[in-house]
């Protein structure tokens, strides 16, 4: 595990991130010289830091906000907010995003056309643009940006929109341009970028949302008024009413009802006609027929002044149906948004090398095959291609889960989305956009999210048969009643049948219940990206757990240090330069022991040539001595023989389930230290609960077999049985193991893990669950992210999933029973159309009520 985890984090070491809990002394230092650090308020990484009382901030706005929050005793805000997972991520990836591209972005915004920004000219000669703002984390940031506006000449308005992290600029093109605005905001750490291509989808989405809301507003107005008029008419029937007043009310009511069917209700006619054209049974067909018959009947009844009119039921039917449609639309939209975030880890700016050798900044979406781009270290490759100049290492972990950097040189194929690590390279682009590997992956995930879950598909199928059956019944009903009682009665009964037999309860149940469950889960800090997972987790199956960071805390601690003080001195000299869990553990331990060393020797050393070696450990030169820190294979690599007198300590460390780390100076072993981890406090409890529910448990870890066996024995001591415990699994082996067990297993195969090593395995399982503390990459791969950092949440998730499934089944059952009873009553002619119209929404409301009161996540909310 050490070996595999080491490298990618080590690559960050050069950035020399100041620890978030910096001591006051460090802060004072960073005030004087620019230092890269994360803001204690917004989590933004910035080089221009301000400090106060041992805290660091990216800007005065954040410092003010922090002081205010602290003053009001609301420090909990920070712990709550960290649950969202922003802060962890900011520490690593944002460094790369923020630094280099700032100038490129400013440069690129000079040519708005080339950057792919839509500029709207307003009538008074001003320009309007919408740009994405990066580094926007909190209200204080949006406040600051909006307050900047008066100090920016030529900018008429700058409005930040938090929900899609964008800014709307209105400016005078003669006095300023977005590039100037960007250069003013850049020192504060906010980066203005052209919007991604998905943003056009977003504007159509926004447009649709408005249409939906307007339709609901109009339908509500018409329904409410039609209902009052209906009440007046019934009251009049009971207590007596002038015949001309009755006519007047009927006319007004009919007009309202017809308007409801024509304006907000026209979508149903439209989709029914489309369905008829393509000869498919659609839920909208009976709705459209019922609406049409209702209108015809009402108009007929009004004109001839006799018979029943259904305008109030018509209007309320339209309202309820439109609300149902809106709920569907919203849940799709929200799912779409979460997807968009997944693919936004590149900022879309790239440096193109022109034919004359000059560099220009362009939007990645504007790249064409055969363009040559320059990729600086720390930048993400914009698209697929091959290297034409330079040699470097790539971080390809997002793609394969392979954590070791891949070395590349001229002629090698490279894939977009991977990160260049050490030196600049020039890449000739061969595929871009949807043809690139990243584009294809994006497409796959988009489609997966668009896939309807099996239950929803089943509901659709039932719905279709239902529609066909109801239509046949309606025809039979009408013909039958025509013979028995004439066309007027026949129409009445048929309208009643068509109205009451609305299958929307069936169609609505599954998506609604799942959407509600996902919302409730989010409140429990469990983020579910994919509704299918809820269905899959409902029945027990096989659950694989990663060990480090999942079953255990993942915080390595140095337990023993056998060796010289010189080794400590060298270790801290090297490891203090790195930002890796093991490095941190070593530093922590040495800090505690510091008094010992400083008495004997001075701590000042010069450290050079720090290299992390293929994920095995590090090597460096400390005061001219060649220092190696790492696992046994690292020593073997440098042909260092371990003297036999170390063997007993080494064996004891392994026996205790700890991880040995060697320190060698100038080819001689100086020390061995043992690292160990501790179980999460809720591991035993959660595993027991899962096992009771019928889940079978396994361990799949990259750590050494001995260590995995130790933890297995320790956990099994508490009455938990592991079916398998696999150690020393490489990322590829993890993927293969999961894939294999998916093939052999009928039930769901779940993988719970975190860390870069697990990204691919998380994606391969039926359900991947990332536990907090994992890298951003694994969160992209996993459809479920447990931000609460508790293993217990998985147990809750499983509970909630099965109760969600039960709720859906209950909804189906009730809706089917209800419909078959009411349909038979309607066919017999026992149900009046009005009563049908009252009962129709009731079946929908029953489903809604069941969905909301369903127990998913409720028990957990109390605990």
């Amino acid at each position: 595990m050490i070996a595999l985890e080491r490298n990618s984090e080590a690559t960050h070491s050069l950035q020399n991130v100041v620890d978030r809990h910096a001591s006051p002394a460090d802060v004072a230092q960073s005030e004087n010289e620019p230092h890269e650090a994360t803001c204690d308020h917004c989590g933004l990484v910035s080089s221009s830091m301000v400090g106060s009382n041992g805290h660091l901030f990216c800007c005065h706005g954040c410092m003010g906000a922090f002081a205010l929050i602290h003053e009001m005793g609301l420090d909990d805000y920070y712990s709550l907010r960290e649950g969202a997972g922003n802060v962890d991520a900011a520490g690593t990836d944002t460094i790369f995003k923020q630094k280099a591209p700032t100038l490129a972005a400013i440069e690129m915004l000079k040519d708005l056309e080339g950057a792919g920004v839509d500029v709207h000219q307003t009538s008074d000669g001003l320009c309007e643009v919408r740009l994405t703002v990066e580094g926007l984390h909190c209200a204080a940031c949006s406040w600051l940006i909006e307050r900047m506006q008066p100090s920016l000449p030529g900018v008429h308005s700058a409005q930040v929109r938090m929900n899609d992290r964008s800014i709307h600029l209105v400016y005078d093109p003669e006095k300023t341009n977005p590039s100037k605005v960007a250069s003013r905001l850049a020192p504060l750490g906010y980066l203005l970028l052209p919007q991604h291509r998905d943003d056009t989808d977003q504007s159509t989405n926004r447009h649709q949302q408005r249409e939906h809301l307007i339709a609901i507003a109009v339908a509500a107005f018409l329904a409410a008024n039609a209902m009052w008029i209906g009440i007046a008419l019934y009251a009049g029937e009971a207590t007596g009413m002038l015949i001309e007043h009755t006519h007047f009310f009927r006319w007004i009511g009919t007009i309202l009802g017809v308007m409801a069917a024509i304006f907000p209700g026209r979508v149903f006619f439209r989709s029914a006609i489309n369905a008829l054209r393509t000869r498919t049974a659609h839920v909208d067909i009976p709705i459209a027929i019922a609406l049409a018959m209702g209108i015809a009947g009402s108009v007929f009844g009004t004109i001839y002044g006799k018979g029943h009119i259904y305008f109030d039921s018509l209007a309320s039917l339209v309202l309820l149906l439109r609300i149902g449609r809106y709920i569907q639309f919203r849940s799709q939209y929200v799912a779409g948004l979460s997807l968009e975030k997944l693919f936004r880890w590149t900022n879309g700016i790239t440096t193109r090398v022109a034919e004359d050798g000059s560099f220009q900044s362009v939007a990645a979406s504007r790249l064409k095959p055969r363009d040559v781009v320059l990729v600086q270290p720390g930048e993400t490759l914009p698209s697929d291609g091959f290297v034409v100049q330079g040699r470097s290492h790539l971080n390809v972990s997002w793609l394969t889960g392979e954590s070791a950097p891949q070395s590349i040189s001229i002629g090698d194929r490279v894939v977009g989305g991977t990160m260049n690590i050490d030196s600049p390279i020039q890449v000739c682009i061969t595929e871009c956009g949807k043809q690139s590997r990243l584009g294809q992956l994006e497409e796959v995930i988009r489609n997966a999210a668009g896939d309807r879950t099996p239950l929803v598909q089943a509901a659709d199928k039932i719905g279709k048969w239902f529609v066909i059956m109801v239509l046949l019944l309606a025809v039979g009903c009408w013909i039958g009643w025509c013979f028995l009682a004439g066309p007027a009665t026949a129409t009445m009964h048929t309208v009643a049948l068509l109205t009451i037999a609305c299958p929307c309860a069936i169609a609505l149940a599954a998506p609604l219940v799942i959407t509600i469950a996902i919302g409730r889960a989010a409140r429990q800090q469990i983020w579910i990206r994919d509704g299918q997972c809820v269905e899959r987790l409902a029945k027990p199956g096989l659950m694989w757990f990663d060990k480090t960071g999942t079953l255990t805390e993942g915080n390595m601690r140095v337990q023993q240090w056998e060796g010289t003080t010189k080794s400590m001195k060298c270790a801290i000299a090297v490891e203090s330069q790195l930002n890796h869990p093991i490095a941190k553990a070593i530093c922590e331990y040495v800090q505690l022991q510091r008094s010992k060393i400083s008495q004997s020797e001075s701590m000042s050393t010069t450290t050079e040539e720090i290299r992390s070696i293929e994920g095995l450990g590090v090597s460096a030169k400390v005061d001219g001595d060649f220092v190696l820190i790492g696992s046994e294979p690292l020593l073997r690599l440098h042909k260092i023989v371990i003297p036999t007198n170390w063997n007993s300590i080494h064996d004891r460390i392994l026996r205790d389930g700890m991880t040995p780390i060697w320190i060698a100076i100038d080819g001689k072993i100086e020390a061995i230290l043992s690292l160990s981890d501790s179980l999460r406090h809720d591991t035993i409890e959660s595993l027991k609960a899962l096992q009771l529910k019928g889940w079978r448990l396994c361990i799949l870890s990259g750590d050494r077999k001995e260590v995995v066996d130790y933890w297995r024995r320790r956990i099994e001591g508490s009455g938990i049985v592991f079916e398998q415990a696999i150690g020393e699994a490489s990322p590829e082996q993890k993927v293969d193991t999961i894939r294999l067990s998916r093939e052999n297993e009928k039930a769901a195969v779940v993988f719970v893990g975190d860390g870069i090593n697990d990204a691919a395995a998380l994606a391969v399982g039926d359900v991947g669950i990332a536990i907090r503390g994992g890298s951003e990459i694994s969160l992209r791969a996993a459809p479920i992210y447990v931000a609460s950092n508790r293993l217990r949440s998985i147990d809750q998730l499983v509970d909630a999933s099965s109760s969600t499934l039960r709720t859906i089944q209950k909804c189906f059952g009730i809706s089917l029973i209800y419909n078959s009873i009411t349909i038979s009553l309607a066919v017999i002619g026992l149900i009046h159309p009005l009563i049908a119209a009252i009962f129709m929404p009731i079946s929908g409301l029953t489903v809604l009520g069941l969905a909301i009161t369903g127990h998913s996540f409720e028990k957990t909310e109390k605990s």
């Binding site: 949006s142 600051l144 938090m162 929900n163 408005r210 809301l213 507003a217």
Partner: protein, 55 residues
């Protein structure tokens, strides 16, 4: 009771005016973003140059 012929259309008209206002609100985008306005109300109308925290 014939006052109904006047009051009912007036009532509907008043409702329709409200509806029109609501539709205008939605069409102008007031319902697009329900997040930022809620935050914006917490922000004082202080000019950045006179802001104390800018020291």
């Amino acid at each position: 009771m014939s006052v109904l012929y006047i009051t009912l259309p007036i009532a509907l008209l008043m409702g329709a005016i409200g509806l029109y206002a609501c539709v205008r609100c939605i069409a102008s985008g007031q319902y697009d973003d329900l997040e930022s306005p809620a935050l914006r109300i917490l922000q004082d109308d202080v000019d950045i140059h006179s802001n104390k925290s800018d020291e």
